[in-house]
């Protein structure tokens, strides 16, 4: 079966080959390997980009293949980040607190330790009590489960409500956007217990790995991200090929017809919506330790829309398109807004890219939607056609 799977999907082989080569190349050039042609901060950017590619292929499956323009998948990504961030922050703070209390004459009681950790973490929002939401933050296993389960459960409940009442098309998009707005507002509140708009920080420090340098840690995370992207790619190719893929593409094109063929359309949509939400959670959990900080602004509706932009520019309905879109647009964004791009002097006005990049991106996006609905991935079709002709 595996043979035929790859034979039917030759792009998988190419993609995995390319990803492996890229990973090996980056590893050799990294600081940890000693060559240091790629700085640790750029290595982190590359690792983060891989995570963004992972959430982008999840978005592509839910939108490009199943036709659900979800404006909430970046919120699931953020929830994954928060879930792992809570453990990172708790455990790291605990290490610090225990070390600092060691100097005390009396060894600390468990209560004293908890209170000290609490005031360290929640001091910024004027509290020292642990909110209920942090009940499992001491356990890596439980928080890792939460990375997958919380987005999954949220997607399951929301999807069940939305699909059951046959909300489709733009209505569904707006509803998912409303969900995302509600989530981000929820995270913004101090009452929620997630440090309000301060978010979680110091996530780049991994508890128990204090001796490992950031250069090495970053490389590990880069590998983990590459592995996750590869696995995610395989998972989604498997899901979107074969008869299951045929059904979800059919749902995208004519939902009512699929229903009259006897398929329970809602189950399929719910399955896709939930699985992609879980993958988004995993991507977020890998992304934020590399970013070091997460705050509710990351969850705002705009982020999920950008996710759709990446997929559209890359070319939806093909997984490698989503990868290309996410990688190209997010790397270009950081290049342009990070001051990497040279300003253009028009004589009367200097175009400063930190100010004008979003204008360019917005207009590019309009142009892509209007003139190249297949996105960058569409170029491969042109190449393939040319190859056949010659």
């Amino acid at each position: 079966m595996n043979n035929s799977f790859i034979a039917k999907n030759p792009s998988v082989l190419w993609f995995l080959l390319g990803l492996s080569l890229f990973t090996v190349l980056v590893s050799i050039l990294s600081e940890a390997a000693g060559t240091a042609l790629i700085s640790t901060s750029f290595l982190k950017t590359l690792g983060k980009t891989l995570c963004l590619c992972l959430v982008a292929i999840a978005m592509d499956v839910v939108w490009g293949y199943c036709g659900i323009l979800s404006l909430g998948h970046f919120a699931f990504f953020g929830i994954g980040g928060y879930a792992i961030g809570m453990w990172l922050m708790y455990d790291r703070t605990k290490d610090i607190v225990v070390t600092s209390l060691e100097n005390n004459i009396l060894p600390p009681t468990p209560d004293e330790i908890t209170t000290a950790i609490g005031s360290q973490i929640f001091g910024v929002v004027g509290s020292s009590e642990f909110p209920v939401i942090w009940a499992f933050s001491h356990s890596l296993t439980l928080q890792l489960l939460a990375v997958v389960l919380v987005p999954g459960l949220l997607a399951l409940v929301f999807g069940w409500l939305a699909f059951r009442s046959r909300v489709t098309g733009v209505y569904l998009s707006i509803l998912t956007q409303a969900m995302t707005l509600a989530l981000s507002l929820y995270f913004f509140q101090n009452d929620t217990g997630l440090r309000g708009n301060n978010g979680l920080s110091g996530l780049q420090n991994i508890p128990g790995l204090d001796d490992v340098s950031q250069a090495t840690l970053s490389l590990w995370f880069f590998w983990a991200s590459a592995f996750a992207l590869g696995s995610g790619y395989l998972l989604f190719v498997w899901m979107t090929s074969g008869k299951f893929g045929s059904v979800i593409r059919a749902i995208r094109d004519n939902e009512a017809r699929v229903r009259f063929l006897g398929y329970h359309v809602e189950s399929y949509k719910l399955f896709i919506f939930t699985v992609t939400a879980m993958v988004a959670g995993v991507a977020g959990a890998l992304y934020y330790p590399q970013a070091g900080i997460i705050n509710p602004a990351e969850i705002a509706p705009i982020a999920s829309i950008y996710l759709a932009v990446w997929v559209a520019i890359g070319g939806r309905g093909r997984l490698y398109g989503a990868v290309i879109g996410a990688a190209v647009v997010s790397l270009m964004s950081s290049w342009f807004t990070g001051g990497g791009a040279p300003d253009i002097n028009l004589g009367i006005y200097v175009i400063n890219w930190t100010d004008w990049w979003l204008v360019l991106l917005g207009l590019t996006f309009v142009a892509v939607t209007l003139f190249f609905p297949k996105g960058i991935g569409g170029l491969f079709d042109l190449l393939a056609r040319k190859g056949k002709q010659s």
């Binding site: 323009l69 004459i105 009396l106 060894p107 600390p108 009681t109 468990p110 209560d111 004293e112 929301f158 409500l161 939305a162 059951r164 009442s165 046959r166 909300v167 098309g169 733009v170 209505y171 998009s173 707006i174 509803l175 956007q177 409303a178 969900m179 707005l181 509600a182 507002l185 929820y186 913004f188 509140q189 009452d191 009512a256 509706p301 705009i302 829309i305 759709a308 932009v309 559209a312 100010d355 004008w356 990049w357 979003l358 204008v359 991106l361 917005g362 207009l363 590019t364 996006f365 309009v366 939607t369 209007l370 609905p373």
Partner: protein, 641 residues
């Protein structure tokens, strides 16, 4: 009630007639207290001056308080104004002016406390001053700092008062003062009862002051006007602290106290027989402490049992500062009535708030309802059109400084600008994407980010003011509880106007007819000579233009920023979807539901507007479950896909 007041007035007015006609002798009698006044000694002098009832007293007291009274070496007082080495002197009685050398005179500089006493004495004269503004300021000063002594002069000044409004205010204030300070309890109760229909903050403050209490603790309940008794076990630690503060019990050791005591009693690495590393367990800490206490090294530990026994032994209560139970009972009853009135008024106020929020949502959403509802086109840049309208208003104000005129210019101009922007967008982008609604959503989103960043580049990131004209600046105050700003009323009126206008355009004009024709059957419409392209362009322009006007209106009460559009876009979409797509009445219903819902939730949880928004969105998501087509749903085949 009235007759009692008049009786008091008569008594007071007939008092001071028999005294001397000049002020200087009185001043000389109290020369020492006046020249070197202190808060305790000056009262006699002030009483004497006040009792004289002379017309020149007001002027003298005012000048004295303003440090303009000078004393000659021989002790005579003058009102003086120094200029250089000379001083211009005014006789306190005759008012004649002379110039003299400053060296023979000394300026009186009463301190703040004395000046306040002078002010109080002044009030009774100012209350009957011929100048209305002085009388008003006297009344205001009594309201600011009511004192028992002011009651009599205030009552006396009511009868001669000629200004109707001020007289009413004086009567109200006299009521407040009588309720608190009248000598006869009957008068006080009468005054308290008369407050039952007054929902003002002042009246409630008066009642609360009468009902002010002090918490206390004792072995047994004292024979006094007890407001309430408490069960100390509700908050045992707090109650015990009260006991400690009242010296009825020794202080209970905190965890920190125990820790400190343990740390100072480490003997050869052990405490009370326990090893140091056992101290991570709080129960062992207590046991070790008990061992130390047994050796007399530390005070005995107040255990939970000891604490509870001490609490059982005492009563915890609150005493009214007012000893007379009749008065506190009356005040209690009246306060309850007033509070229920206030609650009713608050609901009315909340309704007004909700109405104005609903108007804003309606204004923001109505343009969207046209483009989304009638044409089926998603315009994510709708919020940015609102922003463009607001910035148009701001730019107009830069050139036209008369705010009324600039508003008159800004409204049509904002419409024109956003109408043009809408038409351009329709022609360049949306027209190519009909029948691909999801792609329209994305393309217009691209425009939205471009416009937002463009606005940021042009106008900067900080908020720009859009100032409303003066006649819109105030608020319509119904009473202390119910009030609504004129801007919100204006927005409400604007929303109503638009509702009427849109319904008129859609139902009564040729354009509206053609719009409906194109909506229902574009093929048939075009075969009847209607140009669907033109109609779509006009509709889109109209929807966008209304967004521009909404932008000016919203900008008047909120700040104008490049991000203001995105604040409204999700809410606007929800308004349209909840209301029912393709129906102006639906948008109205949706705006009303979301506006009232949000205010309602805010009322339940007033501290947290973010939470209100969160729960409102959740509610909308659930609402869609039960009415997927919205409140005003089109039924039947037309609604199907």
């Amino acid at each position: 009630m009235r007759s009692a007041l008049f009786a008091l007035i008569l008594v007071i007015c007939s008092g001071p007639m028999a005294f001397a006609q000049t002020l200087q002798p009185i001043l000389q009698t109290h020369a020492k207290e006046i020249a070197k006044p202190s808060r305790s000694s000056v009262s006699d002098a002030l009483d004497a001056i006040a009792v004289s009832g002379l017309p020149q007293v007001t002027g003298f007291l005012e000048q004295w308080a303003n440090k303009n009274v000078w004393q000659r070496n021989d002790g005579v007082f003058f009102i003086g104004m120094a200029s250089g080495d000379d001083i211009s002197l005014t006789d306190v009685d005759t008012g004649t002016t002379t110039i003299a050398s400053k060296s023979d005179y000394k300026q009186l500089k009463p301190n703040g406390g004395v000046r306040r006493l002078i002010g109080t004495a002044l009030v009774q004269f100012q209350l009957i001053d011929p100048d209305l503004s002085r009388r008003e300021s006297a009344v205001a000063s009594i309201a600011r700092r009511p004192e028992a002594a002011q009651l009599a002069p205030l009552l006396a000044s009511i009868e001669p008062e000629v200004d109707g409004a001020l007289k009413a205010r004086k009567i109200q204030l006299a009521n407040f003062l009588s309720a608190r300070f009248a000598d006869d309890p009957k008068d006080r109760i009468a005054a308290i009862n008369s407050l039952s229909s007054d929902t003002s903050v002042e009246a409630r403050a008066v009642l609360n002051q009468i009902l002010s209490t002090k918490a206390g603790v004792a072995k047994s309940l004292p024979d006094a006007n007890v407001a309430a008794t408490f069960d100390p076990m509700g908050t045992p630690d707090m109650s015990y602290l009260a006991l400690v503060n009242a010296d009825f019990a020794p202080a209970k050791q905190t965890q920190a106290d125990i820790k400190a005591a343990l740390e100072t009693n480490i003997v050869e690495g052990r405490i009370g027989g326990f090893a140091l590393n056992q101290m991570t367990d709080p129960t062992i800490r207590e046991t070790a402490y008990a061992a130390l206490a047994a050796d007399g090294l530390v005070p005995r530990l107040i255990t939970k049992g000891a604490r509870d026994a001490a609490l059982e032994d005492h009563v915890f209560f609150a005493l009214y500062d007012e000893p007379n139970a009749d008065i506190t009972n009356a005040a209690q009853t009246v306060l309850k009535t007033v509070e229920s009135r206030v609650a009713t008024a608050q609901i009315a106020d909340l309704t007004l708030d909700a109405l104005s929020l609903a108007s804003i949502f309606f204004l923001a959403a109505i343009g969207l309802a046209i483009t989304f509802g009638v044409m089926g086109v998603i315009n994510m840049a709708h919020g940015e059109f609102i922003m463009m309208g607001a910035y148009t208003g701001y730019v107009v104000q830069l050139f036209v400084t008369n705010y009324t005129v600039s508003l008159m210019i800004a409204l049509p101009l904002a419409f024109a600008v956003t109408f043009a922007a809408g038409v351009v967008m329709e022609r360049l982008v949306i027209r190519r994407l009909y029948h691909r609604p999801l792609e329209t959503l994305l393309a217009t989103f691209g425009i939205s980010i471009a416009l937002q960043q463009l606005a940021k580049n042009v106008f900067g990131t900080q908020a720009r003011p859009l100032t409303s004209p003066d006649w819109l600046a105030g608020a319509w105050v119904f009473n202390d509880v119910i009030q609504i700003s004129f801007i919100r009323i204006a927005i409400f009126v604007l929303a109503l106007l638009f509702l009427g206008l849109i319904i008129y355009i859609l139902k009564r004009t040729r354009l509206g007819l053609e719009v409906r024709a194109v909506t229902q059957n574009p093929g048939m419409a075009s075969s009847m000579g209607i140009n669907p392209d033109r109609i779509n362009m006009m509709t889109f322009g109209l929807g966008s233009g209304i967004a521009g006007i909404a932008g000016v209106a919203i900008g008047l009460y909120a700040k104008v920023t490049s991000e203001m559009g995105s604040d409204y876009i999700v809410q606007s979409f929800m308004t349209v979807v909840v209301g029912g797509v393709g129906n102006v009445w639906g948008t109205l219903a949706g705006a009303a539901m979301i506006g009232f819902g949000q205010k309602g939730i805010e009322w339940l949880n007033p501290s947290n507007t973010l939470a209100a928004q969160t729960y409102m969105i959740l509610f909308v998501i659930l609402f869609i479950q039960f009415r997927p087509k919205g409140i005003v749903a089109l039924k039947g085949r037309a609604a199907g896909d």
